[in-house]
Subunit: 345 residues, 4 copies
Amino acid sequence: MTKKKIGIIGATGYTGSELVRILKKHPEVDIEIITSESRSGEKFSEVHPFFQAIEEQKLKSLEEIDQYDLDLVFLALPHGVSMNFVKEHAGKDFKIIDLSGDFRIKPKDVYEEWYNTEHVFSQGIEDAVFGSPELFADKIKTAGLVANPGCYPTSAILASAPLLMAEYVDSKSIIIDSKSGVTGAGIKAKPTNLYSNVNDNFKAYGLKTHRHTIEIQNILEKVTGNNVMVQFTPHLLPVDRGILSTTYLRPLKKTDENELINIYKEFYADAPFVRIREFPPAIKDVKGTNFCDININHDPRTNMIIIISVIDNLVKGAAGQAVQNMNLMFGWDEKTGLTQIPVNP
Amino acid sequence: MTKKKIGIIGATGYTGSELVRILKKHPEVDIEIITSESRSGEKFSEVHPFFQAIEEQKLKSLEEIDQYDLDLVFLALPHGVSMNFVKEHAGKDFKIIDLSGDFRIKPKDVYEEWYNTEHVFSQGIEDAVFGSPELFADKIKTAGLVANPGCYPTSAILASAPLLMAEYVDSKSIIIDSKSGVTGAGIKAKPTNLYSNVNDNFKAYGLKTHRHTIEIQNILEKVTGNNVMVQFTPHLLPVDRGILSTTYLRPLKKTDENELINIYKEFYADAPFVRIREFPPAIKDVKGTNFCDININHDPRTNMIIIISVIDNLVKGAAGQAVQNMNLMFGWDEKTGLTQIPVNP
Amino acid sequence: MTKKKIGIIGATGYTGSELVRILKKHPEVDIEIITSESRSGEKFSEVHPFFQAIEEQKLKSLEEIDQYDLDLVFLALPHGVSMNFVKEHAGKDFKIIDLSGDFRIKPKDVYEEWYNTEHVFSQGIEDAVFGSPELFADKIKTAGLVANPGCYPTSAILASAPLLMAEYVDSKSIIIDSKSGVTGAGIKAKPTNLYSNVNDNFKAYGLKTHRHTIEIQNILEKVTGNNVMVQFTPHLLPVDRGILSTTYLRPLKKTDENELINIYKEFYADAPFVRIREFPPAIKDVKGTNFCDININHDPRTNMIIIISVIDNLVKGAAGQAVQNMNLMFGWDEKTGLTQIPVNP
Amino acid sequence: MTKKKIGIIGATGYTGSELVRILKKHPEVDIEIITSESRSGEKFSEVHPFFQAIEEQKLKSLEEIDQYDLDLVFLALPHGVSMNFVKEHAGKDFKIIDLSGDFRIKPKDVYEEWYNTEHVFSQGIEDAVFGSPELFADKIKTAGLVANPGCYPTSAILASAPLLMAEYVDSKSIIIDSKSGVTGAGIKAKPTNLYSNVNDNFKAYGLKTHRHTIEIQNILEKVTGNNVMVQFTPHLLPVDRGILSTTYLRPLKKTDENELINIYKEFYADAPFVRIREFPPAIKDVKGTNFCDININHDPRTNMIIIISVIDNLVKGAAGQAVQNMNLMFGWDEKTGLTQIPVNP
C-alpha cells in the first residue's frame, strides 16, 4: 500500500524536531517536505546535528509546498502565524494538524482576549476539532483541521475530565498546580531559558494570566456542559522535558479512593496511552513516549481529591498526540508509530 | 566579652555541616564540641572534606559533652533520638535547640500518631517553644528548649499566617503545594536520593501522610485559635537546596492584591529575613541565606489568593533559623552571623 | 520465520533494563525469560515501573533457565559472578554475550591483577571474542561467547584504533581523558551516586588504577601487534548517560587534519554506527542510540592530534553493542533493532 | 580608619554581581559606585533581584565616575572595551584591576593575533602586572594596573607552575584538559548557554584556538624563562560554577608521588587559598570560595604526572582573585573579606 505523504511546516524548534523523530519511524507515512523560512536550503541535520545519517533532506520554503501532493501537514509554527497558513490553505486537499494555540479556543473573542491578537480566520475556529483523542476521537476521525492541545492542558484535562464529566466534583473550585520542563518555553535564546537561570532553580510564572488557563477551562466546559472555574499555576522545572500536574478537586458526594480509581480505569479502558498508576508517577516514567500516567488519591481527613498526572510535553503534549490524531484521521490503529519505550534514566 | 560556648550534636548530615558553616563565622560564639557516634575520633574535615583548612577539630562522642562547659547545644539528630538526649540532659545548664521533629507537635498523642513512635519525654513537649522567630520571638527569648521548625512548615507557615491571623481567609480549605530540593531527605544513600532517580525528574510523594502536614496545621491553629485544615502535597525537585511552596487561600471578604500586600508588609515590618517580592521569587534567590521571600497574588477572576514562598531548606528551613533562635535566646541582634548573600548562580 | 529465543540474566540494573528496552522492539527475537535472584516472582514492571503496560512478564530465578530452549543469553551480572555462570553453562546450546568484565582481558593473570579476583574459568578467557563489531566482526559472527566491551573502552578504542593500526601515531604516549555519566557506576545506592554529591559537581576518580585502563591497552595491543601505553583518567559527569573521551595522540609523521579525517572515514566506511562529525559532538547527540560520534582534530601549532568521541554508555557502551553483536552472531543486518533516534533534548 | 572607596565598572554580568557579593562584606572598603550603561538609573537589585534588601544603590553611567573620589576600580567589562577605559583613565588617582583579557598577554602583537582585535593602549600592556598572587605578589603590591587572570588559566597555571619552575617536567608537552561550568561563558542569552543545550549534556569546544591557551603559555614562559608548549582543550560542564583542570606532565627525572606532593606543599606554604588535597577534589568543594584545591598524582606504570586542580571560576577565577589582588595592593592581609566557606551541597 502506498504511504501517506506528510509535510512538516516549521522545523527549527523542538516540536518540529520531535515530529521528525516520530514520523521517521512511522510505518505508514513518508515525510515529503520539511519547511523553515529562516534555514531553508540547509539540511535538516545541519539545524539538528544529532539527525546526521538519519534525516538528511534539505529544508524547503513554505512556498514550495504546492509542488508536493500532500495528504496531511503538521504546523509547528508560532501562534499568530499558524492562523495565516490555515486561512491561506483552506480548501486544499491536505488535512491540517495545527500544533499552535490558534484554533483551540472558542469563540473567537475569547481567543482574542487571552492571546491579545486579532484572529484572521473565524471559519477555522468553527471548523477545528480539539485534538484530544481520549475525549473527541469520533470528531477527530473526520476532521479536516485539528487543533492539537497545549502541553499543560493535555496533562490537566486528562486528569480531571473523568470526574467532571461524571459530575462527581465541584466544577468551580478546580486548582491545577503544574510544573513543566524548559522545552515547553520553546527553543529561543532568552534569559529565562538560560542554563544558569534554570539549573538548580525553580519558580512560578504566568500566575493568573497563562493562556493555557482558558484552554483548560474552555474544553472542560465543553465536555461537561457546565460552567467551570480553573485556578492554574505553572512553574518552571530544571528538566528538559516533562509536565507534572497536581490537580485538587472537591467531591460533591461521599467517596473513597477505590471508587475513584475505578472511575478512571473505566473511563480510560480503551485509551492505550493513559496508564493508571498505583503510586505517584515521575516525569521520567513517560520520557520520550506518548503516555499520560495518572495517579488518583482521596484524603479522607480533608475529603479532598488529588490527581497526579505526568506527560512528556514534547510527545503527548505536542508531537506524539499530533501523530495519534493523524492515526485517527487516516483510520489507523491509534498506536501506530507511537510505541516508544521510555529512555530512563 | 567572652564568647558563648556551643555544642553541635550530630555532625555527619547536612544540618550539622550547615550549622558549622554558619557558626564558624558567627562573631559571638565558639564551637566547643562537635559530636558523631559513627565517626568520632575523625576530623570534621574528613567527614566533610570541603572544610579542609577551615574546621579541623576532631569529632567527639556524645558522652564527652559533660567535659565542656556549654551554653547551648544544637541537636542535629534524627527524630526519636533527639527526645532521648533532651530527656537525659533536662536540667543541665545549657539551652537546647532541637532541629528534629520531636518537640514540635502538641499534644503528645498527636505526635505519636503522626510519627508512629512513642514519645519518652512529655515534659519536654510541654516546655518546648516552637522556634519561629517571626511568630514567637518573645517566648523564644526566654526558652530553655526550642523546637526548631521543619523546612516545609517554615515556608508554609510564613506564607499563610498573616492572612489566617487576620481571619481574612477560610482556615478550612488551605492547599499547600510544596516542592523541595533533595537535601531535605537527608544524606543517607537510598534509592530515592540517587542521582539518576532525581536528575531531570520530578514527582510527588508522601501524599496525605507527610508529617509536616500536622506540624503546619498545629502551629496555624495555635496562632489563630481556630480550627485549621491543611492539604499538603510535597514534591521532590532536582535541585540540591530550596523549597518553594504555592499556597492557595480562599478570602472571606472582598479584597484586592494591594490590600493583601500591605497586610504582609505590615506583618513582617520588623522581620529582617522576610522579603516581600513584587515578582514570583526563585529558589536560587535565597540560596545559602536565611531569607524567606514571599510573593502575594490575588486572582480577581477566581477570587483566589495565591502565595509563593521560597526558602533555603538547610538555612531558614534548618540551621539558619536555629541560629536566629539562638540569637534571640542570648539577647543578640537577630541577624548576627546571618547576613550571608545568596551565591547565585 | 520463527524468532530467536532470548534470555536476560540479571534484570534489576540499568543494563538489564536497557536490554529489555531494545530487545522488546527487535523484530527477530522474543524475550523468553528475564531473571533476578533478589526480585524473582515480581513483575519486571514492578522493578522498573516505567515498563508498566510494556513488559509485564514475571522475573524468574536463574535455576529456571533450563526450562527454556534458549538461543542466546545476555549476562547483565556483576563481574566475578558472570564467570561462574559461563563456567557452569559452557557446552549448553545457547550462545552467551557477557556484559561484565570477566572475559575481556587476556591472559588470565592480567585479569586477576587488575580485578583483584581469581578467575575460575580459563577456557572461557581463551574462547571469548571481544565484542567490538567495528574491529572483530568476523570472529564475532562465529563466536559462542562474546565479551561485550566496557563503556569507557568502547569510546576510547574506536577513537584511537584507526591511527594506531595505521602506525600513524606513537603507541606509547596515548592520553585518554574520559568523562562519564552516573549510570556507568551502576544502580546501587552508594554515597558517590547520591544526587547532592553529583549534581552541579564534577570530579576525577580511579586515577592510575581504573580497570578499563588495561582493557583499552590490551585490545589496542591486540589490533596493532605493538606495545601500547595508555594513560586513562575517568571523571564523573552530572549527567545520567553518556561518555565523552578526549584522546591525545602524537603523530609519527607530518600530517594535517584532512588526511586524518580521511583515514577515519575509510576505516569506518562500513560501520553503520560510527558517525564522523565535522564539529565536536555532544553527549546528547547520541542519547538512547547505538551511535559513536567521532570528531578529529590536528593542531598544527603543537603537532598534536585530539580525537573527541561520544557514546551512550548504556547503549553503544553496553546493551546496544550487545545487540549489535547478537545481530552478527545470528547473521542479521547489524542495524536490526538498533535504529533508535536520539531523544534530544 | 576610613575605608577605601571602590568603583565597580560593569554590573550586569556574573563578575559584577560576584564582586558586589564579596565587596559588600569586605571590612575595609565601601562600594561607592556601580556602573552599567544599559541599565543605569535602575537599582542594582532590579538587575539582580536576589540582592533585594542587601544592595539597593542605583546604577550609574560610566561618565559619572569622576564625581567620586575613588581609590580603586574593578573593570567587569568585555575585552576590547576594557582597554579603552584604561587608556582614557590612565593617570587618574585610582588603581585599576581589569578582569577582562585586555592586559594579560604580552607583547601586543600576540594579543592582537589571538584576540583578533587591535589593541589601543600599548603602554597599558607594558605596565600591567598579571594578577596571580601566588606568583607575582611583590609586583602586585605596587601595581597601578593589574590584569586579573582568566578562569581557565588560574586553574592551569597554579597546577603546573611548581613543577615547571623547578624544571622538573618537560615544558614542551603540557596537556591541559579543562572542564568549566556555564557561567564562564557569560550571562548573554545565546544558544550554547540555553538550558536544554547544556543540561544532561557535555561537549568540547574551542579546540586549538581558545584564547586562554596563549595566556597560560605566556605566563608559564614568563615564570620559567623557558619556551613552553601547551595543548589546551576546554569542555562545557552542566554546572553553574567551577572549573576542573586535568594536567598531564612528563617528568624529566625519576620521581615519585610523595616527592611531588612535597614540592607543591613547599611552593604553596604561604598561599592561604591553595589547598593540597589527598584525594581528587570536586568542584563543589570550592564553590563560592577563593580556594584552588590541587591533587597530585604520579603513575609509576606510565611515568606520567597528573595534576587535578579545581576553582570556582567566578571567585578564584575572577572576582575573588581580584579582591585578593586588591588586598595586596592596599597592603592588607590577603585573606581579608575572602574567608567564605563553601556552600555544599
